[in-house]
Amino acid sequence: MESRIRVLFLNVLGCAALAMLVSGCSRAIDAIDDPYTAEPVIDVEVERREIRRPRIDTENFEVGAHAGFMSIEDFGTSSVVGARLAYHITESLFAEAHYGQSTAGKTSFETLSGAVELLTPSQRNFRHYDLSIGYNLLPGEAFIGRNRAFSSALYLLAGAGSTDFAGDSRFTLSFGAGYRVLITDWLSAHITVRDHVFRTDLLGEDKTVHNVEFTIGLGWFF
């Protein structure tokens, strides 16, 4: 009898101990699971900073002015002035719009005959424009003196446009080559030769004329 009471007592004690153990464990698990309910030791308040990255200046456009000489077939050689706008598409390719104007001289027939004038003064205005594509063929450096080197490139040009001369405008193909030296990163010097080819019947027969233009100019990158 006494031993049965002892067993019962021990069972009750064991159950109570087990219950206490389980509840203690679950409380410990609760504490692990939920650490955020506690007050933080340091209250971190990070202000959101607006980071503005400096813009990188892109300089793919080049505007320029040039002057030189133009040989107008049958009408002698005259001075020419002009302007150009280029867009550098890749390191090798660029697109260019080019304009030039000049005043044609007299044909040898007009000079020899003395009094004959084939064209009126306004018809002697020779204006041409072309839209070309250029290819930088030979990139390199130009050395001036012992300590100075400038980036340079030899480029080829091919394009089409129109020539306004003797009261008419004519479809014109133009071919050329040029040499560009970068004096600074934003300033370039050009020496360019272009041939403007078109068909005309101005002097009676229908023929193809070549008008070679030689210019020196400056360009600004922006």
Binding site: I89, A160, L182
Partner: protein, 251 residues
């Protein structure tokens, strides 16, 4: 006389001053990157053909001064200035450790382009035509174009301005067809060596199809056929067909 010379001189001086002032102001705000690869190559000019003359080593900070096509002018902490390619700059890091905000050239640049320009050459009803255009892309498929054309024929010359809408159904194709619809005005003037015929300006409308080919980077080739209806003041409208091909680029 003296006054005008003085004015010109003052203007030139002011321009020069402005140039240097803006250059000096910009100095403090350059984009700075840290070399993450073993080294960053620097060339003497903006192109692969210009010789390499210096390298910035890993961990070095360089300032990015300017960009020309796919080349970046950089300056090292020691003041050495040179040009590095977009591929190499794209593999650098910002001082915070984040990748530099300059991505290597990708096809996405082509697909996501907004503005585009180009020059095409061809035949407009027997006359030579040279046309230049600018385009604005509203979506990958739909764009709005503005064209200016110079027409030079044996018997007449003139110009044309057109606005048109272009639909490109498969923009992701390397060679991709497109369809276009538009309207404009045309001006025709007879050549001076012919008897006097009246100059005329007429409205026109056109429909066309074409092909656009992405060659590399921001360079494209383009060819198209357009059929124009010129609304003349005479009894009949005039139909003119135009073929042309050329190159284009996007900004």
């Amino acid at each position: 006389m003296y006054w005008s010379t003085f004015c010109r001189g003052a203007l030139l001086g002011a321009l020069l001053f402005l140039h240097f002032v803006t250059a000096a102001e910009a100095k403090d705000q350059h984009y700075v990157v840290v070399v993450a690869e073993p080294f960053l190559e620097m060339h003497t000019g903006p192109g692969r053909g210009y010789p390499r003359f210096h390298v910035a080593e890993r961990g070095e900070q360089v300032e990015v001064l300017k960009r020309r096509t796919d080349w970046f002018k950089v300056r090292t902490a020691r003041g050495v200035e040179g040009w590095s390619s977009r591929e190499q700059i794209s593999r650098t890091l910002e001082p915070s450790g984040a990748p530099a905000q300059i991505s290597a050239p990708s096809r996405l640049d082509y697909l996501e382009r907004r503005t585009e320009g180009g020059v095409l050459l061809g035949d407009f009803g027997g006359a030579n035509v040279l046309a230049a255009y600018g385009a604005f892309h509203m979506t990958r498929n739909l764009s709005l174009e503005l064209w200016g054309s110079d027409i030079n024929g044996r018997f007449s010359s003139g110009w044309m301005i057109n606005a048109n809408l272009v639909h490109q159904p498969w923009p992701e194709w390397r060679i991709s067809p497109y369809f276009t619809l538009g309207t404009g005005v045309v001006r025709i003037e007879p050549q001076a060596t012919l008897v006097d015929v009246e100059d005329r300006t007429d409205q026109l409308a056109h429909a066309g199809i074409g092909l656009r080919m992405h060659v590399s980077r921001n360079f494209m080739l383009r060819a198209e056929f357009k059929s124009y209806v010129v609304f003349t003041s005479r009894e009949e409208n005039e139909d003119v067909n135009e073929w042309k091909a050329g190159f284009a680029f996007f900004f």
